[in-house]
């Protein structure tokens, strides 16, 4: 799965500003939550301001109240502190609320954009990603970004502000002592920088190893019957342990580096405190400073170094989120390679299909052609059978008609017009294709059928199901057309599923109907009934039938024999039986196997 990501990274390695471009693209998804994001920063600013002021007045409380035993000053400063604390509380709560809304909203928009983008993918875009890959992006990755974003708008504002305000306060209290920070802060910053720089590449490696671990587990789960049949449990354990071990080693290394964070921070805090203590003691004795100021200075010391610590935490967080951001961005920047041309044609005149010197490659390279130089001329209303071995490009050929992929060379015409000139939706509504790997969705049978035509009446649905020979078995279900289909159609048999898929396609009332091995699980008698119904009820629809069984195609107007990405024969059953070697071979193999009965 991450081989895709790798090419993505490589592509961007040459562009230095890729991360800027990426962040811009992601940030564009904040949209209506910009207000909340800004409000977060504003309220955080006030919260920080309060938090900085509070120790300042605490110093007054001690110096002018407690130390001199002045109870009214204690009350005065106490009351002020209560007000400040309540204000800080208010700002903090508001900031928390705004931050939650901004980040959850940002995540919502991101998810929406990614999902919408995927909906606009062409088939060749879809082929690049695994379902699991997209699901992880929409869930885990976006959650990571959501957390990082919340962190950024709260803490990335908070930490620098805290640093600046606290520095200002220390300078106000005692500018000579504040100079200490100018020495300590760069040391700490440098230390943190070095730690992150060293740990980041290791973390990156760990995440890749994690992918490998997941892969081992997933393959093990999928192939558990193979594992158990071959008694390969030990082999699998070894495989897993190796990956697990390399995660252990890398993670330990990275985290051990990160483990310097805390002591480094303590070292800086403690030395600062000691330095301040020593110097301020002298100052206090020399009466240029008060003890209250000393306690405030210590408070600010903690705040200053704490905010630096927070910065380093954000950096770690961003490091983790960066990988996720890259994976999301990969989808956001993926451009669908199928577009409507200018002034797209919105009407398909008829169901004629022409292939003119069509070559096709999934890799879009002329060296790896799957289909070479195909020429076909099919008249509207004809029934065309397609037969050929595994990998002979039968599916590839028909997928070009509803423009699921674009040709690499040549032209495919529907109704005499290049498919690239049509509005894609118009074309696909007129060219119904029943895919080989088909899916029903969770929902009732009616809901599934309505995919073909949202406003279909009950009569229309029943008619389509009758054509597809599905009506009878649907009625045998207790809930008839309201029977609930489980995800993937798990509660209907393979043959029933295929017939429902055909009915769904028929509801489009298309000019061209393509069945890609769509009756393989249907028995021969029903298969024949379906074909007869097509012939009688939708004679004007051009029909393409890909099949394994000769019996499914033998009565077609013409039959295409595919071999190795090219057309090996094109003619009627009789013609092909006479002079096509492959067709004869297939025929013989099936007669011998008892599939065809004379």
């Amino acid at each position: 799965m991450w081989s895709e990501s790798e090419t993505y990274f490589r592509k961007f390695e040459t562009e230095k500003d890729w991360s800027v471009v990426m962040i811009k693209r992601l940030a564009a998804c904040v949209r209506e939550y910009k207000k909340d994001s800004i409000l977060t920063s504003v309220t955080v600013t006030f919260e920080v301001l309060m938090e900085v002021i509070i120790p300042f007045f605490m110093a007054f409380l001690i110096d002018e109240g407690i130390n001199v035993g002045n109870i009214s000053n204690i009350y005065k400063y106490g009351a002020m502190l209560v007000v400040f604390a309540l204000l800080a509380l208010l700002c903090g709560v508001l900031a928390g609320k705004y931050a939650a809304r901004a980040s959850a909203g940002f995540a919502k928009n991101l998810r929406r954009d990614v999902f919408y983008r995927v909906q606009n993918f062409s088939f060749s875009n879809i082929d690049k990603y695994s379902t699991a890959g997209i699901v992880t992006r929409l869930t885990t990755d976006i959650t990571n970004i959501q957390n990082a974003y919340q962190m950024i708008i709260r803490i990335a504002v908070r930490a620098p502000l805290m640093l600046i305000f606290s520095l200002i306060m220390t300078f106000t209290i005692n500018s000579r002592l504040a100079v200490i920070f100018l020495g300590v802060v760069p040391v700490l910053a440098l230390g943190l920088y070095l730690i992150i720089r060293y740990a980041h590449p290791i973390f990156k490696r760990v995440f890749k190893t994690y992918d490998r671990l997941n892969n081992v587990v997933q393959e093990n789960l999928l192939g558990i019957r193979v594992v158990k049949s071959y008694v390969r449990e030990e082999h699998e354990k070894k495989k897993f342990n190796e990956v697990s071990d390399s995660i252990y080693r890398d993670f330990t290394k990275a985290e051990k580096t990160i483990a310097y964070n805390m002591p480094l921070m303590q070292l800086c805090v403690y030395s600062t405190i000691l330095l301040i203590s020593w110097l301020s003691a002298k100052m206090i004795v020399a009466s240029t400073m008060t003890t209250g100021q000393l306690t405030s200075l210590i408070s600010y010391t903690l705040q200053i170094l704490m905010s630096l610590m927070m910065v380093s935490m954000i950096l770690v967080m961003i490091t983790i989120a960066r990988t996720s951001a890259e994976r999301i961005d990969e989808i956001l920047q993926e451009q669908s390679d199928l577009h409507n041309g200018p002034n797209p044609v919105r009407k398909v005149p008829n169901g004629a299909v022409q292939f003119e010197n069509v070559s096709f490659s999934y890799a879009k390279s002329k060296e790896k052609l799957c289909l070479h130089q195909v020429n076909l001329d099919i008249k509207s209303g004809q029934t065309i059978g397609i037969i050929g071995g595994t990998g002979s490009a039968k599916t590839t050929l028909v997928q070009l008609i509803p423009r699921l992929y674009d040709v690499t060379e040549g032209t495919v015409k529907v109704g005499g017009i290049d498919v690239r000139q049509y509005d894609v939706e118009t074309l696909r509504n007129e060219v119904a294709m029943v895919l080989q790997k088909n899916t029903l969705f969770s929902g009732t049978i009616k809901e599934n059928l309505r995919w073909g035509n949202e406003s279909a009446t009950d009569e229309e649905m029943i008619h389509a199901c009758k054509l597809a020979q599905a009506d009878e078995f649907i009625r045998s279900f207790p809930d008839s057309y309201d029977t609930y289909i489980e995800q993937g159609g798990a509660n209907v048999s393979g043959g029933q599923k295929q017939r429902l898929c055909i009915a769904r396609a028929l509801l489009k009332k298309p000019k061209i109907l393509i069945l890609d091995d769509s009756t393989s699980a249907v028995d021969m008698k029903t298969d024949a009934l379906i074909r007869r119904a097509f012939q009688e009820q939708i004679p004007n629809t051009t029909k393409f039938i890909i099949a394994q069984r000769i019996s499914s195609v033998e009565d077609a107007d013409r039959i295409i024999v595919m071999d190795n990405g090219g057309i090996n024969g094109f003619g009627t059953h009789e013609e092909l039986m006479r002079d096509n070697a492959i067709y004869q071979e297939v025929y013989t193999s099936q007669v011998k196997g008892g599939i065809i009965h004379e």
Binding site: K97, G105, V135, K237, Y270, S277, R504, G593
Partner: protein
């Protein structure tokens, strides 16, 4: 609650077991580090009271005493820093060790689980034990646990210091803390409820995405994108609502605790000040100043603990799920008959370590004698009943004989029990009633791993593993030479296409062989079975995804593969089973017809109807 405690205890066992000494050192280091920290927060007051104030009164101040105090403090601090470094680094080793142990134990245990477990649990759920659940554990072990200890020790140390200083003020602080804890409980509870709701919304969303993206091509073909978007928006909105609320409550915890701490500070200052002025409880002014400092050090760790609560609860839930997996009953195996290599000398079988091509069952008896039975592939079922769920019998009274070298076919509709029969032969499931004998031995007596090694299996769903083509074929026999692999591939008619691949036998396969066609993957799976060279083969819809022309080519290879072996074939394409020695027609878990193709056709029963296409099989 009790369950949670059990989980925590079990988790702590992982943490302490194997690294008792390290863990002890960690505890000591945390203790030192916490004490140093507390000492630090008291130091300022000591500095002011014991050094600075006297110096102020001294007309000619001498700073040596102060310098000494600072140096001593410096030493204490340094010990603290070193301890922190030590325990942080040790904790990394411990936590990563624990995680590795848990991961490995979990996977090892999973390999021992019966097929039933895998049939009844969704892969996504199992996968999340290795990812999400272990991840939450990582956070908890490496961060929450040390922090928890640290906080507890700090709280204890500060509490001691406070009590020593002033009992009335301590009571005041404790009252404030009690209020804080009530607030924490309230807010954390709210946030927890919404986090659960968020997870549910996420789960719903996950299911929807999985279904839509899985069927993305269908969505495109039906131009259903807009509807999918609309439905998605609804789910997305509800996820947003819950995520927003959950995070809101988690976010406001910090400011609330912080400022309650500030209010507590003021309260102590005011009340303490008042008390000292009226002379209550022997409170001095200097005392209040240091007490204020202490009260800050007291509420801070409590604040930290409350922040960790969410992650601890989540980690414990994750740990619970992991332990549930580990507590699953492993596959039972009481078999003692083993599979050995043998040589045939004068009609007598003797065991050997060499690879002879002759296999024997080594059967030790109660009286100490050992008999050897040649592995021939004679499989018999006597009145076998079976149910996946007790009470719902799937197979009834199944009796069948498969003699060595025979090809036995099962035909019948989905759910008739064809695959179930093969699941019983290799003991993926155990029978309820009746008996299965393999070469005359009750299969319950045969060690499961040896039983399975003697059976080759090719399934409809081909599962290949990441690795080269060669490695995938070698999966059938780990010590197979390259020649053996190529021979097996030729037998399965796979050699030709493999050579056409970019790197031939060394071509890397990924994602379950996504770069191959269904048929090609199946051919590799057949080669994998061929290289294992077992006496009995089970082909469960092995050729159903190969076109008939290729199938006839594969069939030649398969004939070679099947020669001299007992073969069980399940197929819905009748051409595949036609030349079987015996065909069993199954319906609702019973064998309703049996015989050769010709006999069954003559009977004009169910098989005849199937064959003539009057019924569909799936």
């Amino acid at each position: 609650m009790n369950k949670k405690k059990g989980t925590l205890r079990r988790l702590m066992k992982y943490v302490t077991a194997g690294h008792k000494l390290q863990f002890l050192i960690v505890l000591v280091c945390i203790l030192i580090s916490a004490v140093a920290n507390v000492a630090g927060s008291m130091f300022i007051q000591v500095l002011i009271d014991d050094y600075i104030s006297p110096l102020l009164l001294d007309p000619s101040p001498v700073f040596t005493g102060l310098l000494k105090a600072i140096l001593i403090m410096g030493m204490i601090y340094l010990t603290g820093v070193v301890s922190t470094l030590c325990y942080n680094r040790l904790m990394v080793t411990i936590s990563q060790n624990v995680l590795k142990d848990i991961r490995d134990n979990m996977f090892d245990h999973m390999q021992e689980l019966p097929i039933k477990y895998f049939d009844t649990h969704s892969h996504g759920d199992v996968m999340s034990h290795y990812t999400n659940d272990t991840d939450t554990l990582r956070q908890m072990i490496s961060q929450s646990i040390p922090q928890l200890f640290n906080s507890v020790i700090t709280v204890a140390a500060v509490l001691c210091a406070m009590i020593v200083m002033s009992i009335p003020l301590t009571i005041l602080v404790l009252l404030c803390v009690a209020v804080m804890l009530v607030v924490v409980r309230k807010v954390a509870g709210k946030s927890g409820t919404h986090f659960v709701k968020q997870q549910q919304a996420l789960g719903k969303m996950n299911g929807f995405i999985e279904e839509m993206i899985g069927g993305q091509k269908v969505v495109k073909v039906f131009c259903h994108e807009e509807k999918a978007k609309k439905e998605f928006d609804g789910l997305n909105e509800s996820l947003f609502e819950n995520a927003y609320k959950a995070n809101k409550f988690a976010n406001i915890m910090g400011p609330i605790m912080n400022n309650l701490g500030n209010l507590q500070y003021v309260l102590i200052a005011v009340l303490g000040g008042a008390m000292s002025i009226i002379g209550f409880g022997g409170i001095s002014l200097g005392m209040i100043a240091s007490f204020l400092q202490l009260s800050k050090s007291f509420s801070q760790p409590i604040n930290q603990i409350s922040q960790q609560m969410n992650s601890i609860v989540m980690a414990l839930a994750g740990a619970q799920r992991i332990f549930d997996l580990m507590d699953e009953e492993p596959e039972q195996d009481d078999g003692y008959v083993t599979l050995v290599n043998a040589i045939l000398e004068n009609g007598q079988l003797t065991e050997t370590t060499e690879h002879t091509g002759i296999w024997a069952w080594k059967h030790p008896h109660g009286d100490g004698t050992v008999t050897y039975t040649r592995v021939q592939g004679d499989v018999r079922f006597f009145d076998v009943d079976f149910a996946y769920d007790p009470g719902k019998t799937i197979l009834h009274n199944v009796t069948l004989y498969a003699q060595p070298g025979q090809k036995v076919a099962f035909v019948g509709a989905t759910g008739a029990g064809k695959t179930t029969i093969t699941n019983l032969i290799n003991r993926f499931y155990d029978i309820e009633d009746g008996k299965i004998r393999y070469d005359g031995i009750n299969i319950n007596k045969i060690k499961k791993s040896d039983l399975r090694r003697s059976l080759g299996i090719v399934l409809q769903e081909t599962n290949l593993f990441t690795g080269t083509v060669k490695e995938n074929i070698r999966y059938g026999k780990l010590d197979a030479t390259d020649e053996e692999i190529i021979r097996a591939a030729k037998l399965a008619n796979a050699d030709e296409f493999i050579r056409m691949l970019p790197n031939g036998y060394d071509t890397q396969l990924s994602g379950n062989g996504a770069n191959l066609s269904q048929g090609q993957r199946q051919l590799i799976a057949i080669a994998r079975a061929a290289v294992a060279d077992p006496p009995v083969m089970i082909l469960d819809e092995a050729t159903s995804s190969i076109d008939t022309r290729t199938e006839s080519i594969v069939a030649q290879g398969m004939d070679g593969l099947m020669h001299g072996r007992t073969v069980f074939v399940i197929a819905h394409r009748l051409s595949t089973v036609r030349n079987s020695d015996v065909i069993m027609v199954l319906e609702l878990g019973r064998i309703i017809e049996r015989g050769t193709h010709e006999q069954l056709i003559d009977e004009k029963g169910k098989y005849y109807q199937l064959y003539t296409g009057a019924f569909e099989l799936e």
